[in-house]
Amino acid sequence: MENVKILICDDSILARKQLKDAIKKCGYDNFLEASNGQEAIDTYKEHKPELVFVDIVMPIKDGVEAIHEIREFDPTAHVIVVSSVGTQTQLKNAIMEGARDFIQKPFSISAINDIIRARFEGR
């Protein structure tokens, strides 16, 4: 398996753990983590991860702002929104900012698997 970097951005340590556990089952385990939107932007700029998962509701800067700034820095950034129930409006904004796809919490392993395969298959 290639050693691709995956950035997980969520203010909940529980949500980050659940997402990492699911991605590990798909064979990837090189993670970067951020617990708010600003950290996500800074970490992205420093490490340029191949795939980014961003929660919408976060302190300091929310997911929509983070996606905007990450895509401004790198228009090819591959960002997936991890939305919670009840955040439809922000989800729409996140997609308009250039998020490639979204998953809704709590997610199934197969949803994560689909995203990982769509991103890395055929590289």
Binding site: I13, L14, M58, V85
Partner: protein, 298 residues
């Protein structure tokens, strides 16, 4: 759902003490079979299908049976059959009271007759009736008369009871709601929800209680109070408020925005607006639910 109200009814009548109620809830938590368990037992659903319904319940505020039919796992006839196998919860509670020699069969019969006549319960198997009854019980039982926009708060509390049953367990009962200017807290998670209806809601409990609450929510055994416990409480509150904002959007075309959950410990929760405290007694400890309305636009 009925134990929660029948328990409160018995407490208010002085038939049982809070200590006896907690003991009964502990027994009940192991005695009651859920619809999903019954469906697996009957061979109608696989464990993964039941899990799928549970996950779907975190996205839609619907009953287990309702979703199982929509997803094609059960027929309506099968749901009716399984519901008939489920002893109504308040009957189960009554059975435990008799087993514990707290009351006899005649007492139970009289109490149930009174409970049913007060709350107009006729057919517990009907889902619609159940929804109706929860609304009526909440309207008559818990809400202070001066509560502004009671219908929004009523639907919020109905969803809260459903979410507690779905994600934490059925072994709880409630005390009456109290209106307070500010609320002393143990370990408290709160979240602000903004929109034309703005409010702060909070979960508050002792650390020991929080460990069990979190373990049940994430279905994993947690042994100490750590950041996973905090994150689980936040996740529950966030999910519950999220479902509520979906309901408000669907039912009232009202868009609400959730702020990230915050925490505080051993301090007064003071929102500057009247707060309502609802103590919820679980078999493993008391969970205080706090609700504070900041603004309602007409």
């Amino acid at each position: 759902m009925h134990t929660q109200f029948f328990g409160n009814f018995l407490l208010n009548k002085g038939v049982i003490t809070p200590e006896q109620l907690i003991d009964i809830l502990k027994i009940q938590s192991t005695a009651h079979k859920k619809l999903g368990t019954l469906a697996i037992h009957a061979g109608y659903m696989s464990a993964s299908e039941v899990e799928d319904v549970f996950i779907t319940q975190t996205h839609y505020d619907k009953l287990f049976g309702e979703l199982a039919v929509e997803l094609g796992y059960l027929t309506e006839d099968q749901v009716t059959e399984l519901l008939a196998l489920q002893l109504p919860n308040y009957m189960l509670l009554g059975q435990i009271l008799i087993d514990q020699n707290i009351i006899n069969h005649t007492d139970l019969e009289n109490l149930i007759t009174e409970y049913q006549s007060v709350y107009e319960i006729y057919d517990l198997e009907l889902i619609e009736e159940q929804k109706h009854m929860v609304d009526k019980l909440l309207a008559d039982f818990y809400l202070p008369e001066d509560l502004p926009h009671a219908e929004y708060i009523l639907s919020y509390l109905t969803l809260l009871f459903n979410d507690l049953v779905r994600f934490i367990g059925e072994d709880f009962s409630t005390l009456n709601i109290m209106a307070l200017p500010e609320v002393p807290t143990n370990f408290c998670i709160y979240q602000e929800v903004e929109g034309s209806f703005s409010f702060i809601s909070a979960l508050d409990m002792e650390r020991e209680t929080a460990i069990t609450f979190a373990s049940r929510y994430i279905k994993e055994e947690l042994n100490e109070f750590d950041e996973y416990v905090t994150a689980s409480m936040e996740d529950f509150l966030n999910l519950h408020n999220g479902l509520y904002s979906v309901n408000m959007s669907n039912d009232h075309s009202m868009e609400l925005h959730l702020q990230p959950p915050m925490e505080q410990e051993g301090d007064l929760l003071s929102t500057g607006c009247p707060s309502y405290l609802l103590p919820i007694i679980f078999s493993f400890g008391t969970v205080n639910f706090i609700f504070s309305v900041e603004k309602i636009e007409e």
